[in-house]
């Protein structure tokens, strides 16, 4: 009996290959088109994000207006407590910055310098991999690699991509990102490893004293605040202590940043 099994099998394989080529070809073609039109795409979408942010803020204000009195009183008490905490943190940061600036001036290095103010138009959880999208780009003077910080609390990350009117910031807490820093308590150098979601991980020798609330400063000359220690763990058999830290800035609520 004559069969055409081999022929059919070959045809099936050929179809599979053709399908693969077709889909990968589509991917490469579309990727090239998207690469070419990247800046206009971001330019088209950023007004939508700005509109969304504006609406979200307006609804929040409206909901505050129609909330009942008791809820407002409770919220007021909570906010006052939060304000006291933030005040103490801010004064501590300001004191530290003043000392730093004086020190830098003594050594002939500029402290704060000029900065570009920018609004955050997209932030986690909308963005992935701890990325912020800013409404300022090349035309505003933002360059690749520029440092980005919160106006009050501390350092956030660096600019990794700049288009004409927008830029993207990769936070130091981006998963897997390594950042040189040191513990403020005893100037112990550490390498912060980002874990995503504004958290970090690092190890220190077990003799080094690390307490929750210890400040971690960036390993640059102006040494801005990057994170605060949350917890530390050590097994009896380990020679290194594992430390978890959290960024001082809540990345879900950042509205404005400074780019240097």
């Amino acid at each position: 009996m004559k069969t055409n099994f081999h022929k059919s099998y070959r045809r099936i394989n050929r179809d599979k290959e053709r399908r693969l080529t077709y889909i990968f070809g589509a991917f490469i073609f579309m990727a090239l088109v998207v690469t070419l039109f990247k800046s206009p795409i971001l330019g088209l979408v950023s007004p939508l994000w700005q509109g969304q942010n504006f609406l979200a803020r307006s609804f929040k204000e409206l909901s505050l207006m129609i909330k009942d009195k008791n809820a407002l009183v409770e919220e007021n008490i909570l906010l006052k407590e939060k304000l006291v905490l933030l005040d103490s943190l801010e004064s501590s940061v300001r004191n530290y910055e003043d000392t730093q600036t004086e020190m830098l001036e003594l050594f002939g290095r500029n402290g704060v310098g000029d900065f570009i103010a920018a609004t955050v138009i997209a932030r986690p959880p909308k963005t992935l991999y701890d990325i912020l999208v800013l409404d300022a780009g090349e035309v505003n003077g933002i360059r690749d690699g520029a440092r980005v910080s919160d106006p009050v609390l501390g350092e956030l990350g660096t600019v990794v991509e700049v288009s004409q009117f927008n830029s993207k910031v990769s936070l130091y807490s981006t998963s897997g990102r390594e950042t040189s820093a040191f513990l403020d308590r005893d100037d112990e150098p550490v390498t912060l490893i980002g874990r995503g979601g504004g958290t970090f991980f690092f190890t220190v020798p077990k003799d080094v004293l690390v307490m929750p609330g210890d400040r971690i400063l960036l390993g640059s000359i102006d040494a801005p605040l990057v994170a605060v220690v949350e917890a530390s763990f050590i097994e009896p058999t380990d020679s290194l202590k594992k430390v978890l830290a959290r960024s001082v800035v809540n990345m879900h609520k950042i509205r404005f940043v400074e780019v240097r």
Binding site: R19, L20, I23, F24, A26, F27, I28, M30, A31, V34, T35, K38, I41, L42, V45, L48, W49, Q52, A122, P124, P125, K126, T127, L128, Y129, I131, V133, V160, E161, K168, S170
Partner: protein
Amino acid sequence: MLGLSIVFAPAWVYLSVLFIAIFLHPYYLEGIVAGLLIDTLYGARAGAPLFGYIFGFSATVAIIFVTPLRKYLRFHA
């Protein structure tokens, strides 16, 4: 719908919608465009241009793997 969710919704929403759509529709090449759009809007790329398109590439691979699987599934009672 998917485009709107990419622009306005959190990541877990648009990623779920994308991969469900790839599973439900045969040859959902729009999924590649959606993945590339996610990479363009939210990804920070470094190095060679095509290597940074993680979600565009993931959508492509998902389409390739899901398409033959669909033959063995039925979507009605």
